[in-house]
Symmetry: C2
Subunit: 333 residues, 2 copies
DNA sequence: CTGTTAGCGCGTTCAG
DNA sequence: CTGAACGCGCTAACAG
């Protein structure tokens, strides 16, 4: 059996209230402190966080909901958030929504039911209805990598990110550029596609043909098939921009399997490890992943302490274009 | 404010016990059921799992402790475990120990404090002391990819796995083969190194020189530096076996950065995505990741229902050698 | 089948 | 500074 206040009362003769005060930073007389400490050591006592949470309505834990676990981008963010929150005394519960809206809602209810004090989420799509469970109980939510209306969000400047890729390619002589991006169901993808259109219009004076920016499933497979599709067009692009990490991975795999003929220039997204693995070195739009995480953690901590502005905050961070080997983005003669 | 049994009692006039029974699958009269359902919908009632867990001593959640979040191997395992446990009605809490024994112990206490009903762990090393927190409260633990004495474990046949790699290389004509593996502090690495020694002895009649199997830090960086070190030896190996996924990744990156001269044959571990990304196609020892996860989940579910053998169980699964392109393992003339 | 009573382990009044 | 009493939201015995 596991020890409780009662056991340490039995040993020390003190009342439950005094013991509780000891464990909650209240003033307790020196001798009594020692008594409690000795008894606790003897019993190997551990406060019961469940009971404590039930009573105090603070569990000192936060939840993190990811749309996908198997993504370096996501796991890096979680790691950093968890680190920062732990410093502040919070435990972290990680949950995977598997890019499924229903299980995202399940997980949200699960976390709220566990009385987490706050939630960080990388949402599946733009549908905000799953946030209701949190809002009902006044659990603060911070969204990362998606703009959720009415919710604190930390995002990157998606339009500028894509524009920087387009600029590089146009400067290198490309005019027919394809975009591998997901459907417009998420803010992020919508912004990236819009950014692509705008940048192409700005730089080339023309809007890209629709067939050059067809939506793909956001997955490695989607990146593969998308790239293949682009290359099979009657007027294939000479360069392709990938709007996301997994799409980049898929496109790179496809290139790899296709061989060198008609190989288009490629600008990808994220993942520096990939950059080291591939030769020649690819060009990548890199997000400030650590900062995304840190800003999200700080924002949540602010909310947890009841601070921050009254209105929802949106923090926008800038990306960097890591230019790779010339041969990967130059127009072939 | 959030609704409780009391609120629905106020509306329905029923007693708390009846309401409780309704929510716990007991027999409740038809009309009363409807009354409760209507009130619950009106109040948007959600059962409070914290209170429920405090009372019933079952939280219907299990914890998963990973030694590292940013590993495809690990995330695949978690995903599958979570899927299976969800089917059985359990929620899953994922925690990252960051390959740090202390934070592994912290996380274990955190989970036990959350009253999880069971735990799956990919431990940091062979030190089992962190399991005490779980054992104290009779929380069943299943270890994956490590053999924990006194604990249910699901592992692969590490010796056979490495032996299959050695056999391929020796058959291809190699005699000087290096091993990139972590220190002997974990069962897994110890077994793989021992398997390497034994297989080399069997196949070549000689024990490999110590400098060919120096321990490396288990990380991408470790794989990089390890491979470089091997190639700088006065008598460098003509082939290298990588005993783990991240080491494989690191070694591949190093090869990539070193260029083609003196390039050794390489046999890696895991990760099929890597295989698709690299050209020519590499040779890999692949673990039955899905099965590892499924077996672990089933074992835990058995324990959660009080079943299973009295003694700790060890389940051992076999690996497969996925042979890549000839040029990657043949001895160069 | 339903209601009453008694807690789970802890935090918080309020007297003293 | 300490102790008694009460309640967080729910489940588990019993009666009825």
């Amino acid at each position: 059996m596991v020890a409780t206040y009662k056991d340490i009362r039995r040993i020390t003769g003190l009342s439950l209230a005094t013991i509780s005060k000891y464990y909650n930073g209240g003033n307790v007389l020196g001798p009594n402190r020692e008594l409690i400490e000795k008894a606790a050591a003897e019993l190997d006592y551990q406060v019961n966080n469940v009971a404590r949470g039930l009573r105090s309505r603070r569990s000192m834990t936060v939840g993190v909901i990811l749309d996908e676990l198997a993504s370096t981008f996501n796991t890096t963010i979680v790691s950093r958030i968890e680190e920062r929150l732990r410093e502040a005394g919070y435990g972290t519960i990680i949950c995977d929504s598997r890019r499924d809206a229903e299980s995202q809602a399940d997980v949200m209810r699960f976390l709220v039911g566990k009385m987490v004090d706050g939630i960080v989420v990388i949402p599946v799509d733009d549908d905000t209805s799953f946030l209701a469970a949190a809002r009902d109980r006044d659990v603060p939510v911070v969204a990362v990598d998606r703009l959720m209306p009415g919710t604190d969000s930390v995002v990157i400047d998606n339009r500028a990110a894509i524009a920087s890729a387009v600029q590089l390619l146009v400067t290198a002589g490309h005019t027919a550029i394809g975009l591998l991006a997901g459907p417009d169901t998420t803010y992020t993808m919508r912004e990236r596609r819009a950014g692509f259109r705008d940048a192409m219009q700005d730089r080339t004076g023309l809007l890209p043909r629709a067939e050059l920016m067809t939506p793909e499933h956001v997955s490695v497979e989607g990146g593969c098939t998308g790239l293949r599709r682009l290359l099979r067009l009657s007027a294939p692009p000479t360069a392709v921009v990938c709007a996301n990490y997994v799409l980049t991975l898929g496109a790179t795999i496809a290139l790899n399997e296709l061989g060198q003929e008609l190989r288009p220039a490629l600008v990808g997204f994220d993942n520096l490890e990939l950059a080291r693995l591939i030769r020649p070195r690819p060009t990548l739009v890199t997000q400030p992943i650590e900062s995304l995480a840190t800003e999200a953690a700080e924002l949540l901590l602010q909310r947890l302490s009841g601070g921050g502005p009254d209105d929802p905050v949106t923090i926008t961070l800038d990306t960097t274009l890591m230019v790779g080997h010339e041969s990967t983005y130059q127009l072939r003669p």
